[in-house]
Symmetry: C2
Subunit: 360 residues, 2 copies
């Protein structure tokens, strides 16, 4: 049973007269038979809490610098029309009381807390966003990660790995971007995909008549879940791990890459669909950067001289992490050049950077 | 001075032992020298509020159905590292206490309430989304509406009319969609733009060497603000209201359309950039639907037999409003056919429907 949390805030151009405002608002809470507690804030404005029927909790706070915040928490089974009426009444009374000094009234869509279906999946740059998710389609822990597939009304099914939105069925622009946005010719070429368990890249690449695609995905459970629930993304390519022009190896890509290097096996395109650039350089991220560098080094080694390496970067707002990555590219043992491109991936709710890298 | 509002929720598979949990958490608040008030919820779980230094307010609630919610409100000038520590401590202790019964821990990015720069602009389908807005570039009331231009780090400047996100400098896909996404030939054609004060359509249309573009925008202040602050959208086309192949009339489009009908003046393309489809059919929206129908009727009248009428619809999730609009199209006095297209407009954070309409 979820809790709905409403907020209603009034930004004032001048501090309000606390006692007059409070007296005037009290009648609203009295009508609702709510029990008031006034708290001592030690000089930090007026603060009262109100407990009502059905466990409703309201918090009224008047800050001395000219801000009035109001919170209302209730169960989703509560009479929501009545709750809306209470908020309407409060807004109306505040406007009547403080007309002229109100700079902004802000009433946000209610937060849904503890709901069966979690609709909040913050962006990579840490913003609060609510998705139109109405169903948990799949939710399991594999040996490697938590795998969720959630249904969004507009984006279709969304694959979420360890809490990060990976790809939705609406996100063909992601797949197109990480394949070079139509600038490359795949016909007759040999392609290596690192990761890519959702099958999106494999599905699009197969259509372009390559000679051979090798995909190395570590997590069988991702493949199985996407085969079943992300068919707009993967089509039927995950129905078999081998096709006319492709093979999926369910393995850790690092030893496979090392083996390819040893064997002298090379590719025209290497597509890294594994990991986003770590967002910080804090100690706990060090191993992530090391991993990224290792993958990069090995990938460049299996890349033909005329080949291209494609990778996602991160959201465009994480400029420091992107700079760090570009610094890494400049310091590789094998000299490379790169280009980058900003792409709008529908379900990400933020712009995303993609890289193309080639040998100098 | 803004208030930061943190939430930290624990969804449990079984109700927690209230008294044991509460006793164990109390030490965290005692260390912070917060004053506790336990409230009588009349059987609706445990509820305590804590007031701390600097006016900090914490709310701990244990619902009997197995949900624990925690709120922390503090001023943005507060010691935020200390606040993070408090949340960390609480999360750690809860995990130690209720290990095994915790299904989900949810700690959302803090809500910023009453901030100078408002970052919350809910989507058309009513979801809470936070933008990466860092500056109020323009904020004035014209005779017709409130006009805001806010700066987003990733989307550039965003035009917001009466609280609705209209267009950002990143949103060329909107302009391309409402011009037919490259499917039409504009060279040598006569074009009528209704609204479009941001100059985006005008700027793109001028590049296509049409014979003549007539744009009818009611609000001079929108034109002036966009000329100055939305130059990635409008280029230099708004620097003059008349150019080699275009003319901007700062007028209400209804009398202008009526005059065109009277004069028998017609166009190859009519682009309605005025209004989104009203989201409801409630009484207060009736006049919006009437307005929409009026514009549609007049527009079809000034459309050449081979012409096309383009319009935005609304977000794809408002299926009822879109159906209503399509019903309207089927009932026009002049028979029309239409096609529709779903487009991802970067700054909208939701998919949007666009319509192309032509005479049968």
């Amino acid at each position: 049973m979820a809790v709905r949390h409403y907020t209603l805030d009034f930004k004032l151009s001048a501090p309000a007269d606390h006692s007059a405002t409070v007296r005037s608002l009290q009648s609203i809470f009295q009508e609702q038979e709510m029990t008031e507690t006034v708290h001592d804030t030690e000089g930090h404005g007026y603060l009262a809490t109100f407990i009502g029927k059905n466990g409703r909790l309201a918090i009224l706070r008047l800050y001395s610098h000219g801000l009035v915040t109001f919170d209302l928490q209730c169960c989703e089974a509560d009479d929501l029309a009545q709750v809306d009426n209470l908020l309407d009444a409060l807004e109306k009374k505040m406007k009547a009381l403080l007309n002229g000094t109100i700079q902004r009234v802000k009433r946000l869509p209610a937060l849904q807390r503890g709901a069966e279906v979690d609709r909040y999946w913050p962006t990579a740059d840490g913003r609060l966003v609510e998705y139109d998710i109405d169903e948990v389609v799949f939710d399991k822990d594999s040996a490697y990660q938590n795998i969720k597939i959630l249904h969004s009304r507009q984006f279709g099914n969304i694959l979420i790995l360890n809490g990060d939105v990976n790809l939705a069925e609406s996100d063909l622009p992601y797949t197109q971007a990480i394949m070079g946005n139509g600038r490359e010719h795949y016909a007759g070429k040999e392609i290596l995909i690192l990761g890519g368990g959702d099958g999106g890249i494999l599905c699009e690449a197969v259509k372009l008549k390559p000679k051979m695609i090798t995909m190395v995905e570590i997590d069988q459970m991702v493949i199985d879940a996407c085969r079943k629930h992300m068919r707009k993304t993967c089509g039927n390519v995950l129905d078999n791990l081998k096709g006319d022009c492709y093979e999926v190896l369910v393995e850790d890509c690092v030893p496979i890459l090392k083996k390819f290097v040893e064997e002298g096996r090379t590719f025209d395109f290497v597509i890294n669909d594994l990991t986003a650039i770590p967002i910080s350089t804090a100690p706990e991220e060090d191993s992530m950067w090391e991993f990224l560098r290792l993958i990069l080094d090995l990938s460049i080694k299996v890349l033909r001289p005329s080949g291209k390496y494609f990778s996602q970067g991160n959201c465009v707002n994480l400029t420091e992490a992107l700079s760090e990555y570009e610094g890494l590219l400049r310091k590789l043992s094998c000299k490379v050049d790169f280009s980058k491109e900003v792409v709008c991936v529908p379900s990400y709710l933020e712009l995303w950077m993609f890289y193309t890298i080639w040998k100098k």
